[in-house]
Symmetry: C2
Subunit: 149 residues, 2 copies
């Protein structure tokens, strides 16, 4: 028995490592790097903003290949909410997209839920669900007032 080769050059030692590589790959339009973050599970799921559900590695790869035909996505992630367990992690964050053109800078905001699980090969993504947002959180400031002291 020979151990399977690592899928990526990175050691995906934590959910944050996986997330960093996922968004690097989105910015760089690097399809192999992007697919390297996903789990081998058959039921991995991806929902692009405004799109249908995409199930399984083959279909997810095809969906990102179509997106990358237009180049990478100039985005930064902001305001991550995290719930971690020993074997899985849920991150919810805002993807801030800024596209510079002759008409100036166009900004868009996407809300994404990313789910990671710990596998024998390290942490991997099992779900990415994104939908259009407005950058605002409902209730966040209210809750901060109740949880401080």
């Amino acid at each position: 028995m020979v151990a399977p080769p690592p899928k990526t050059a990175h050691l995906l030692a934590s959910p944050d490592d996986v997330e960093a590589q996922f968004y690097e790959a989105l910015r760089e339009a690097d399809l192999d790097k992007l697919m390297g973050v996903w789990s081998d599970d058959d039921d991995i799921v991806c929902v692009h903003p405004g799109g249908p559900r995409v199930v399984g590695a083959r279909a997810i790869r095809a969906s990102f290949e179509a997106i990358f035909a237009n180049g990478g996505i100039p985005l930064q992630t902001e305001n991550c909410k995290r719930v971690h367990t020993l074997s899985a992690a849920m991150h919810n964050l805002v993807e801030a997209v800024a596209i510079v053109s002759a008409d100036g800078v166009q900004r868009a905001s996407v809300v994404a839920t990313n789910v990671y699980v710990k596998t024998a090969l390290g942490w991997r993504m099992v779900s990415h669900h994104a939908s259009p947002g407005d950058g605002r959180d409902m209730g966040a400031s209210d809750d901060a007032q109740t949880t401080l002291h």
Copy 2:
């Protein structure tokens, strides 16, 4: 030290139990039953279809209170994709809504990612992310062809 009382009459012994109670509460417009499925974590997150991110129990409760002012939601869940670990679970499913009116039956489809974690009190929801769908899965049939013998 006295153990905190259970939040609900149900024993939430599995992710499927939590999910069943969540959707029962949505159908019945039962706010207390609905809030009983959520974890106590500060970073619980809910995204309603087309809506912004809602963070924390207080804001999530207020968002469902507003929805329930119009009554329960006549929905059924379909085609759940599951990734489970010992301490957490990711479910992605289709919420099929059928509203009967004088004009006939109006159908709508929502894609939802639900995340559950195992707590000292049993399994609880930490994230519900929903967005409009069309009931179709991209790639599911392709993937089935490659995985079925």
